[in-house]
Amino acid sequence: VADEVRSTTHALLVISVLGALLLAACGGDDAGGAATDVAMAMGTAERGTPTAEVGHLTIYGPYVPAPPTDIAALYFIVVNEGDQADRLIKISSGVAGMAMLHQTVVDGDSSRMSPVEGGLEIPPGGEAVLAPGGYHVMLTNLAEPLEVGDVVHATLEFEDAGTVRIEAPVTDGTGGAMEGMSDDDDE
C-alpha cells in the first residue's frame, strides 16, 4: 500500500507540475500561436477615440505610423451601429498617389499582401478593424515625406453610408495598434 500511495503521490506531483508549466505557457505568452494569435488579437484592438461619423458608422482612432520611405499604411476601426451591413469600398488621400485596401495574409511561414475584393464588410452591430498584420490602407506615391506630428487627410467611401473625411495623425510606429494587438499581462 505504501508503494502505491507513493507512486500515486509521485504521479500527482508530475501532473501538477506539468499543469502549472502549461498554464504558465498559456498565461504569459502572447506570441505562441503566431498568425492565428495576431488575427485573433486584432479583434480585441482598442478602438481609440471616435473621430468621424457617417450614417450608422463611426470611425475610431485613425493613425499612420511614420513610414521609413514613401509607402505608408493607414489604420482605423469602423463600428457599425446600424442593423444593415455596409462596405468600405474606396479610400483616397491627397498625400498619396494611390490608396488601396489590402490585407496581410500568412500562408504557412510566408507573409504576403492580398487585395480585398469587393470592399471590406462592416457587419451590423459589429466592426471592421484595420491594424498591423491584417487589413490596412496602403498609401503609395507619397507626395511628401510623412513625419511624426503630421496629419493625413483621407476620404472613406462606404457603399450605403456614403463618404466621410477623416484626419489621421502620423505616429512613431511603435505604439497605437501594437498596444491594442494583444491583451496579455504587461511585464
Binding site: 488601396m100 499582401m113 512613431d172 510606429g173 494587438m181
Partner: protein, 225 residues
C-alpha cells in the same frame, strides 16, 4: 486497507480532469497551441523564461554571403558568430508588418542597457532584388537604427540565403493589383550565442516583449540542459 489505493487514484483523475479543463479553457485563447501535447524542451524554456518567441527544433546559424548596403561582402555566419542575432527577410516597400517589427525592436534596443544593445546584431535582408538597392535598404534601416545591418544580393544569392536559413524564398508577384507584391518570410529568426536558432518571432511582439527577451538572452543565453 483495500479501499485505500482507490481514493488517491480517483483524486488523481480529478486533478487530471481539472488540469485538462484549465488547458481547454486556455486553448480557446491560443488556438494554434497544440493542447495536451507534451512540451518540447524548447517550449519549456520559453515558458520558464517567459519568452515571446515560438520555440522550434534548433536550426544552425546559416552560412551565406551577401553584400552590405555599404558595398562590403558580409559572411553572415562568420560576422555574427557567438552573439545574439536577429535576422529578417523583408523588403523596403513593405507597408505593414516590416516597419512594425523594426520600430518595436529599435525602440526596445534604444532603451536597453548598453551591454544588451551591444550584444544584439540586427540584420535585414532586402529580398526584393530589383527595388531593394543598397541605398534604399540603408535609407530604410537608418529610419529605425543606423547600427542595423542591411544586406542585398542578386536573386540567386538572396534565394540561397533564404534557403540556408530555412526561410521560404521570397516570391515577387508583378501582376498584383496596383503594383506588385512580395511574399516573404513572416518570421524574425533569432540566433543565440550557441549559434543555434531556438526561437522565431511572429508579427505582433510588442516593444516590452522584445526588451524582456533580448535582455534575458544577451545576459543569460539559451540555457543548456
Amino acid at each position: 486497507v483495500h479501499s485505500l489505493p482507490v481514493r488517491p487514484h480517483s483524486f488523481g483523475i480529478g486533478l487530471f480532469a481539472l488540469v485538462a479543463l484549465l488547458l481547454a479553457a486556455c486553448g480557446g485563447e491560443t488556438a494554434a497551441e497544440p493542447t495536451g501535447a507534451p512540451l518540447t524542451e524548447g517550449e519549456q524554456v520559453v515558458a520558464e523564461l517567459g519568452l515571446h518567441g515560438t520555440a522550434l527544433g534548433p536550426l544552425e546559424r546559416p552560412d551565406f554571403v551577401l553584400t552590405t548596403a555599404e558595398g562590403a561582402a558580409y559572411d553572415f555566419r562568420a560576422e555574427t558568430a557567438g552573439g545574439v542575432t536577429l535576422l529578417y527577410f523583408g523588403y523596403t516597400n513593405c507597408p505593414d508588418v516590416c516597419p512594425v517589427h523594426f520600430s518595436n525592436i529599435a525602440a526596445a534596443l534604444a532603451q536597453a542597457a548598453s551591454e544588451v544593445r551591444r550584444g544584439v546584431t540586427v540584420v535585414f535582408v532586402g529580398v526584393d532584388a530589383p527595388r531593394d538597392t543598397p541605398e534604399r535598404v540603408r535609407e530604410w534601416l537608418d529610419f529605425f537604427d543606423a547600427d542595423f545591418v542591411g544586406l542585398t544580393g542578386t536573386e540567386a544569392e538572396l534565394e540561397a540565403a533564404q534557403i540556408a536559413a530555412g526561410a521560404p524564398p521570397a516570391f515577387i508577384d508583378e501582376q498584383f493589383e496596383g503594383g506588385y507584391s512580395v511574399a516573404h518570410a513572416g518570421w524574425l529568426f533569432l540566433y543565440t550565442q550557441d549559434d543555434l536558432m531556438h526561437l522565431r518571432y511572429p508579427m505582433g511582439v510588442r516593444q516590452s516583449g522584445w526588451a524582456h527577451d533580448l535582455d534575458v538572452l544577451v545576459r543569460e543565453g539559451w540555457p543548456t540542459k
